[in-house]
């Protein structure tokens, strides 16, 4: 039975399911917990708690919903010696993430040209299923992308050096080992560099509608009334294949290391094993592909803005990963410890003063970017000390789905959705009509409620609210 311990926290005791090594903890309010309890999220949080060597608790953020193995919105940290790494704990879209760009324009500057701007972005940034990217690179060049991430992109003219300061891990995970990425994964990714993808991936032109902490917003480089661009994309087919490959490899490895799991999708191996090391090297390479991907789309967005509005000076506010596993230092039972933090649909939320942040952000804290559903608000938050104390420096990653894709299609037609968006004054371009409907606003939870829980629990603070002007969906 789930036990409410305060307004925003619900504990799943170790007695909930046989084999749980640690407790589960879900961040929610009374309304969100009802939604969360409708699917298998709670069981998945408990299943994760059975993994060997976990420290702290198996966590679920307020946007949590049922996933595969781990729930989406799940966070779990493992001891480096005793613990395991699970490919399913990162997910198929390795380093799926969000990037926010600040434009040198106010809303009124762009209103008359919004349609033209959206069309230009839609032409210049390939989206939708199976689309080829803007550059053709050789296999050896792809290995450099996997090694250097956004640094590769900047070196090759897709952006500027200062961009790198505003990307989590400065746009490249140094542990990347391209040799551990299979040829099949490289086949899937080679022509997809610089593409948005489909499903829930998107690019939106938005306006800063409300600022809650002007000082922090100023440090981030955003102010009320400003035009911004929010993009959501990941490592495309390359990352998906890396996860697929290692799920199989980890299933074989479990026998070797005497491990068993409740759900096959939770397949895992010891972090300290050869297979664990190989996965972390391949995962980091796929994460770097995603950083390069978002960097290349940033470059194309700048070009589109320049062509239509005369200036392409889009500055990166920040770029966050929300599907990743990272070795970080956290306080566990009163002592500092190096642990592997799995974030499956969760965002890093580091506070002011954290040494991994660039100097220009260290005084304020790390920007935490929370996209809402199409046509609703998105938020910029900032990381907190409280997140370090109880969530291994993590927060939510979005609104979280509340309705299946098929139900969304049953309830609404593409025409109804487009006229609803038009009434709100939001322009929409989508690659497919069915894809659009599946992402309709009420297929997701209320992002404002999710963010209020995060703020209430103290694991991030609200800095600004963003509202959409134009939406591009893959």
């Amino acid at each position: 039975m789930v036990k409410k311990i305060d307004q925003y926290r619900f504990v799943i005791p170790k007695t909930y399911k046989p084999g749980m090594n640690v407790e589960g903890l879900i961040y929610a309010d009374d309304e969100l917990i009802k939604q969360i309890e409708r699917d298998q999220t709670k069981d998945q949080v408990a299943n994760v708690a059975t993994l060997r060597g976990l420290v702290g608790r198996s966590l679920a953020m307020p946007d949590a919903h049922q996933g595969y193995g781990f729930c989406i919105g799940g966070v779990a940290a493992a001891d480096l010696e005793e613990g395991v790494v699970s490919a399913g704990g990162v997910g198929f879209d390795i380093n799926c993430g969000v990037r926010l760009l600040a434009a040198p324009f106010a809303v009124d500057d762009v209103r008359g040209k919004l349609d033209q701007l959206l069309n230009q972005l839609f032409r210049d940034i390939p989206c939708g299923t199976g689309r080829k990217g803007p550059v053709e690179i050789s296999r050896s060049e792809l290995d450099l992308v996997l090694k250097d991430g956004a640094r590769w992109a900047v070196r090759n003219g897709h952006g500027k050096e200062p961009d790198l300061n505003r990307i989590e891990d400065y746009g490249a995970l140094p542990e990347a080992e391209p040799a551990f990425v299979s040829e099949r994964a490289k086949d899937r990714g080679q022509y997809q560099l610089g593409t948005l993808g489909s499903g829930n991936h998107f690019l939106e032109i938005q306006a800063v509608d409300e600022v809650f902490e002007p000082g922090v917003a100023g440090t981030f480089g955003i102010q009320k009334g400003q035009v911004v661009v929010l993009m959501h994309s990941g490592s495309r087919g390359l990352g998906h294949q890396v996860c697929t490959d290692f799920l199989d490899l980890m299933q074989a490895g479990m026998k070797k290391y005497g491990l068993s799991v409740i759900d096959r999708q939770l397949a895992c191996v010891p972090i300290s094993s050869r297979e664990g090391g190989s996965y972390l090297g391949a995962m980091a390479a796929a994460a770097n592909f995603a950083f390069a991907n978002r960097q290349m789309m940033t470059h194309r967005a700048r070009e589109a803005f320049r062509r239509v509005l005369g200036s392409g000076d889009l500055r990166i506010v920040y770029d966050v990963c929300h599907n990743i596993a990272k070795i970080e230092t956290h306080e566990v039972d009163g002592t500092l410890k190096r642990v592997l933090v799995h974030r499956k649909g969760a965002t890093r939320s580091f506070p002011a003063g954290h040494p991994v942040l660039p100097e220009e952000l260290r005084g304020a804290g790390q920007p935490v970017l929370i996209p809402g559903s199409m046509g609703t608000s998105s938020y910029v938050l900032v990381g907190t000390e409280q997140a370090m104390k109880e969530t291994f420096g993590s927060s939510c990653h979005g609104a979280g789905r509340a309705m299946s894709r098929t139900q969304a299609r049953r309830e609404t037609t593409a025409d109804e959705l487009l006229s609803e968006m038009k009434e709100k004054g939001i322009l929409v371009r989508g690659e497919t009509r069915s894809g659009l409907v599946e992402e309709k606003p009420d297929a997701y939870k209320d992002v404002s409620r999710v963010v209020d829980v995060v703020q209430g629990a103290g694991i991030a603070r609200k800095v600004a609210k963003l509202v959409p002007l134009a939406v591009m969906k893959g």
Binding site: D187, G197, R264, S404, G435, G474
Partner: protein, 139 residues
Amino acid sequence: MRAGYTILEHPSDLGIEARGRTLPELFQRAATALCSIIVELETVRVREQREVVITASDREQLFVRWLTEILYLYDGTGFVCKDFRVESLSSTNLKATVLGEALRPSIHSRLLDVKAVTYHQLSVRQHDEGWVARVFLDI
């Protein structure tokens, strides 16, 4: 039920329930279901074929690897599949011919990116009238 398969709901993604009188028929129908999620099958013609050989440690893994192979042919090599002929099948080995054509974006009406085939609530079971399988896809 349409052509021996049903698309299942999942809070964020999609699943397939496929049925077949025989195991090869089950594998063929599940592959057709996967392709129907990726592309409008009516827009695909049979012009070329690919030979596929897969091994696995058990039947369920073989089923996932078979669908993953179809996904790789599309996403990794640009080959859109339409028909499937299973030549031989045991619980750990599969040999099949996959028929379809090279992806032509101007002709083929593409629907959704399928990221991967998952092991979540996976089942491949025999019952009185044949076989039934359930599998979920990450979209």
